[in-house]
Every structure is written in structure tokens, then in C-alpha cells.
């Protein structure tokens, strides 16, 4: 029953967003087609394109065509890629997803121990340093930190490549995630290649969430430590390691989940910049290019995918909440 309600809500939001973006991109002053085709385009060509893209019809009619297109898996023609947006997204989305996932995993792996230890040694020098690092982490403009990374690790130390997703040939296509695919096919060289390409953008992308999650976990752990059941465990001489990492972390993490979930769409936004800086061939870079070039189908398509991701993540978080907190599952 609950899931049904959530699904309904999901659809509502998706429709809302699609209408919003759809209208937005089409009420622009100026002529995007002329811009896209360049100043030397034939007037007839421009008219033809306009008719092809149904831009000569009224807005609701356009929207209708759009929905029909979506039903058959088409999102409209992209002006900059000269093919259907759905195709473009299918091709580029895995790259972005891989990047974001690696970044999230990176931030979680670091943030949880940092957050827990900051809470345990609250007020101490470690806590203060972490706090400072957290504040630093959210202050970096991604385009600048990306640039600095490329400067230092790419140029100066020549440890990582400057741009791109891979140097040699990509691994055999199984999941679309280069790292996974190269592992599955036991292609160690390709894996190293992919890894060294992804590590730069992933680190830059993970700085913000790392900072946020660390502070969040710390705050939630501190809240947990004053809970009665934790005090009882401490009083009866239970090992503090177990108390911290098993008893407290469980609840602290579960309380952080919602916020962590909201970080992912934020990361998708930052990915627009990071992918540009590192020339990462992902959906976000396409999105950035599409916006600049007034490729409205591209813009709408990318936005819808992001929105879908956002709503999907909310669903996943709800499920995770159930798993981590048996009260929710059993009380229903």
C-alpha cells in the first residue's frame, strides 16, 4: 500500500518536472534551431528542421508528441549529437553512473570511520582537524579543485592522466561499467587503466559528500551515545569497539541515510562541472553541452533522467530504512 503511494508520487513528480522543463526550453526568446545550425544555414533547412521537430505546433500539441515519443522509447532529436536523445543517454549514462558510484563509495569508506572517530574523541584535536577538513571539502569549486588535481597529479607528478575515461581499448561490454567489466574479464591492464582515469574525477566529486557525511555521522553518533541502551551497555562493561561500531553505528547510519540519499542528486549536479573538467564522456557532460547549445531535447532528456534518479533513490532509501530498522517493517 505504501509502495503504491510512493510510486504514484514518483510519477506525479516526473510529470511535473517534464512539463516544467518542457515549457521552459520552448518559451525561449530567439531561435534555437537557427543557432544550432549555424549562421550560414539555409533558411529552408531551418524551416524543415522546425517542422520535423514539430516546433511549429502549439505547446500542448508538442507535449503530446513528446509523450508519444517517450512511450516508444524516444526522447526527441538532439541538436548537438544529431541522433535521438534516448540513444545518447543510453550510451553515456553508465559512465556518469560509474563515476558517481565510485565517488559515493569512496566518500562512505572514508567518512564513516572519520565520523565515528570524531564522535568518540569529541572535542579533541582529531575532531577539530576533521571539522576543518570537512569545511574545506564543501568550499572547493569543483572546476578549480579538478584543475588543481590535474595540475599536481597529472602534470607535476605525472601520476594520473589528465582527461578521459580510458587510454586504451575499453573492456568487453557486460555491464557498461568499465571497472567491473575489466574485472569480470580478468583484464588486469585495462582495470588499471580505468582505475587511474576514474580516480581523479571520483576524488574531486567525493570531497563534498565526504565532508557532509562525516559531520552527519558524527552528529548522529553523538546523539546515539546519550541513548539509554548505549549507556546500559557501557555500564555492563561491553567492549567499546562493539558498542561504537555495532550498536551505535547501526542507528547513526540509518538516521543519516535520508540525507545521504539527497547527496546523490547534488553530486549529479556537480558532475556537470567535473565531467567537463576531466572530459569524462558521461551524461552530465552532454547535459552541460546541451544546455549551452540550447539543445532542448537534450536538456529535457537529461533532466528527466536526473529526476528519475532522484525519485528512484528515495525509493531505495525507504527500502533500506526498512532493512535497517525492523520496527518499520514489523509494525506495518
Amino acid at each position: 500500500m505504501y509502495i503504491l503511494k510512493r510510486l504514484f508520487y514518483m510519477i506525479f513528480v516526473l510529470i511535473g518536472v517534464s512539463i516544467l522543463m518542457f515549457t521552459l526550453v520552448r518559451v525561449i526568446p530567439g531561435d534555437p534551431i537557427a543557432l544550432a545550425l549555424g549562421p550560414h544555414a539555409d533558411k529552408e533547412d531551418v524551416e524543415r528542421m522546425r517542422r520535423e521537430m514539430a516546433l511549429d505546433k502549439t505547446l500542448p500539441v508538442q507535449y503530446w508528441y513528446f509523450i508519444q515519443g517517450v512511450k516508444s522509447g524516444r526522447l526527441g532529436m538532439s541538436l548537438i549529437e544529431k541522433r535521438d536523445v534516448m540513444e545518447v543517454i543510453k550510451e553515456k549514462f553508465p559512465a556518469t553512473l560509474e563515476l558517481v558510484l565510485v565517488a559515493i563509495i569512496l566518500s562512505l569508506i572514508l567518512a564513516i570511520p572519520l565520523g565515528v572517530t570524531s564522535a568518540i574523541y569529541r572535542g579533541g584535536w582529531w575532531d577539530q582537524i576533521n571539522r576543518l577538513i570537512a569545511l574545506f571539502g564543501v568550499s572547493f569549486p569543483h572546476f578549480w579543485s579538478g584543475l588543481m588535481f590535474q595540475l599536481i597529479f597529472g602534470s607535476l607528478l605525472a601520476l594520473t592522466p589528465l582527461t578521459g575515461r580510458i587510454g586504451g581499448t575499453p573492456p568487453q561490454y557486460i555491464t557498461g561499467f568499465f571497472l567491473l567489466d575489466s574485472l569480470i574479464t580478468l583484464n588486469w591492464n585495462t582495470f588499471k587503466d580505468c582505475f587511474i582515469h576514474i580516480i581523479g574525477p571520483a576524488i574531486i566529486l567525493s570531497l563534498g559528500p565526504l565532508a557532509n557525511i562525516t559531520r552527519l555521522i558524527r552528529a548522529n553518533m553523538i546523539d546515539e551515545s546519550s541513548k539509554d541502551y548505549i549507556i546500559v551497555s557501557k555500564a555492563t562493561g561491553m567492549s567499546s569497539l562493539i558498542i561504537h561500531y555495532k550498536y551505535m553505528l547501526r542507528n547513526a547510519f540509518s538516521s543519516s541515510l535520508t540525507t545521504i540519499g539527497f547527496l546523490i542528486p547534488l553530486m549529479l549536479g556537480s558532475a556537470f562541472v567535473v565531467e567537463k573538467v576531466f572530459a569524462w564522456p558521461g551524461m552530465a557532460r552532454f547535459g552541460a553541452d546541451a544546455i549551452i547549445a540550447n539543445d532542448f531535447n537534450g536538456v529535457v532528456g537529461v533532466t528527466l533522467v536526473i529526476c528519475l534518479a532522484f525519485v528512484g533513490i528515495n525509493l531505495v532509501i525507504d527500502i533500506l530504512h526498512e532493512v535497517l530498522d525492523p520496527r518499520i517493517k514489523l509494525k506495518k
Binding site: V232, A235, G237, M238, N251, R327
Partner: protein, 336 residues
């Protein structure tokens, strides 16, 4: 020859430092628990009894609290000066039953998990590596589960094997308290500290739990510190009683003589305040709870005392043994 008490606290003074000021929540407290004894710590809410308990258990948050002076000798070691490791070892010999059973069980784990963790931890002799090894061996888990079941039987829980798989919210208040009591018995503790364990329960369950408590204490030959604001309960369970007000011990002695023949004005007031079944009018104690931030010099009870004299405002009375085993802190009894 009289044996050394199991727990001997003397001169305990603890202050809390907060933004609003410093408050001395424990004022030169003196407490003794002998082996096999049930000692009651009686006082109003906010009198500092929980602070004392937490201090003994080592769970008092040290900033903002600070121990100004005193020592607590437990089995010969000063708890306040012992190294953290030694403290942890000593903690094993203490058991704690808290006030609110609902808040005292981690809601996201089944009862069995907490039990087994506790049992295996104690069995592994507090070694982290041994714990991790043992925890995941099926045989150990089974043994621990069996031990847990036998403990649960001892606190008279029905179907103990099913209980292990349940979550706290699936049990009633009384059952939760029993579970906590069973967990307290793990590792054969020597000292049980119970902080108003029946306050959060229904009246009907209270009696049953109290009886259970009494039984277990006798059976296991536990020494016990029972904290309560209810003199009636204290009379039922305790061999000796300490009466505390505003962080100070006002009177202490064995239950019978203290309740039948109270000396301190506060104790007298408490006894008067117990509603009697004969329907007589009962008096309260005039005044309100004190403000710990600003204590006037002299006796801490003077503002509400019916037998106040001028000396009370000038000098704080010492805790003096006026008869064998009877201690009073009141100027009316200082001369003897």
C-alpha cells in the same frame, strides 16, 4: 571481625559545569555496601541519587561533570583512580538495571543478539580478537544462546527460546524489565545497582518485578544498591537505607529502626508524606526542590526544615554516627 564492605564510598563531591554555572550535585557523600546486603538510596527526583549510581558504574559523563574529591573502594580498588582498563575489569563485577526498560534495549537488534554479544564477550575475557573469533563460530553461539535461555528461565519468562528472536518493541514492559534483569545476571556479578527499575511499569507488574528482584538477590547472594524515591519499596527490599537530599546524605541506618524511629527532619517528613490507608490527612514537605546553582551556606535542607535553628544557616552539619550503624547529618544530633 567485621569484613571490609564490598563498596565503600567516602567524601564524594561531584560538580557539574554548565553554561549557566557550576552546581555541586554530590556533596561529601558517604556510602557503604556490605556483602550480601541490599542497600537503599532514597531521595526525591533530582536529589543526586542517579548521579551517584552513574559515578559508581563509571558512566557519568566527565565533562561536564567533575569529581572534586572522594574515593570509591570496590573490592579494594579505588574506582575513581583506577586505570580505564582496570575499571573495565571491575565493571564486569557490577550489574545495572536502569529505570526505563523500553529505552534501555537497542530497538534495532533482537534480544538474542545483545545477550549473545554480552555472554561471548565475557567468556572471551575481554579480548577483542577472541571475541571476533568466537562470535562467528556456530558452536559458541549455540552455547551462549543456551546460557541466555537458562538466564531467562531464572527470571521467569515464558518461552525463552522464542524471546531471543524478538525485538524489544514486541515485548511488554514487564518482560523487558525481566530481560534486563536476566542480562544483569550474566557473568555472576557481585554488585547489582538498580535505578528505580519499577517506576516505568504498571502498578500490577511492579509488585511482581519487585518480588522477582528480591528472590534473585537472595538466590545469587548479590549485594545490591537500590535507588528509589519510594520509601515503601525501600522498606520491602532493603536491609539498610541512606536518605539523600540535594546531593547530601542526611541519614542512614538499618531499615527497621530508621523507619520506625527516624531522627532527621527530612526523613520524618518523608515518612509523614506517605499516604496511609487509614485515610488520615498526610503532609508534604514544604517548599520546592532546591536550586543547585545557588546554595546558601549551612545545611542544604534548611529552607524546608521544620526544625531549623540558627546554627543551620551558618554551618553545615557533619554526618555523625549517633548509634551503632545510625548516621545523621543534623545539628540537633551533633552534640552526642
Amino acid at each position: 571481625m567485621k569484613k571490609e564492605p564490598l563498596l565503600k564510598a567516602s567524601g564524594i563531591t561531584v560538580s557539574f559545569y554548565t553554561i549557566d554555572g557550576t552546581s555541586r550535585v554530590l556533596n561529601n557523600v558517604r556510602l557503604e555496601i556490605n556483602e550480601g546486603e541490599v542497600v537503599g538510596l532514597v531521595g526525591e527526583t533530582g536529589s543526586g541519587k542517579s548521579v551517584m549510581a552513574k559515578l559508581i558504574l563509571g558512566i557519568l559523563p566527565i565533562p561536564p561533570a567533575r569529581v572534586i574529591s572522594g574515593e570509591i573502594l570496590f573490592k579494594g580498588y579505588d574506582l575513581l583512580k583506577a586505570s580505564p582498563d582496570k575499571r573495565e575489569v571491575l565493571k564486569e563485577k557490577m550489574a545495572y538495571i536502569p529505570q526505563d526498560p523500553t529505552a534501555s534495549l537497542n530497538p534495532v537488534f533482537p534480544i538474542g543478539t545483545i545477550f549473545i554479544d554480552s555472554i561471548i564477550w565475557k567468556q572471551s575475557g575481554r579480548s577483542k580478537s577472541k571475541f571476533f573469533l568466537n562470535r562467528y563460530i556456530k558452536k559458541n553461539r549455540k552455547e551462549a544462546a543456551e546460557l541466555a535461555i537458562s538466564l531467562l528461565k531464572r527470571v521467569e519468562i515464558a518461552d525463552p527460546d522464542k524471546i531471543l528472536y524478538k525485538y524489544p518493541f514486541q515485548l511488554s514492559g514487564g518482560m523487558r524489565q525481566r530481560v534486563l534483569l536476566a542480562m544483569a545476571l550474566i557473568g555472576s556479578p557481585e554488585l547489582l545497582i538498580a535505578d528505580e527499575p519499577t517506576t516505568a511499569l504498571d502498578v500490577t507488574i511492579q509488585k511482581r518485578i519487585l518480588q522477582l528482584l528480591q528472590q534473585k538477590v537472595k538466590e545469587e547472594n548479590l549485594s545490591s544498591l537500590y535507588i528509589t524515591h519510594d520509601l515503601g519499596v525501600a522498606r520491602l527490599l532493603c536491609d539498610r537505607i541512606y536518605v539523600m537530599y540535594a546531593g547530601t546524605i542526611m541519614e542512614s541506618g538499618d531499615t527497621k529502626s530508621l523507619l520506625e524511629n527516624p531522627y532527621h527532619p527530612y526523613t520524618k517528613g518523608l515518612i509523614r508524606a506517605i499516604p496511609k490507608l487509614t485515610g488520615e490527612d498526610f503532609d508534604g514537605i514544604p517548599g520546592q526542590a532546591p536550586n543547585y546553582l545557588e546554595f546558601p551556606p549551612g545545611c542544604r535542607f534548611q529552607a524546608r526544615c521544620l526544625e531549623k535553628i540558627s546554627l543551620c544557616a551558618r554551618k553545615e552539619p557533619e554526618l555523625i554516627e549517633v548509634e551503632i550503624g545510625r548516621f545523621i547529618a543534623c545539628h540537633h544530633y551533633q552534640a552526642r
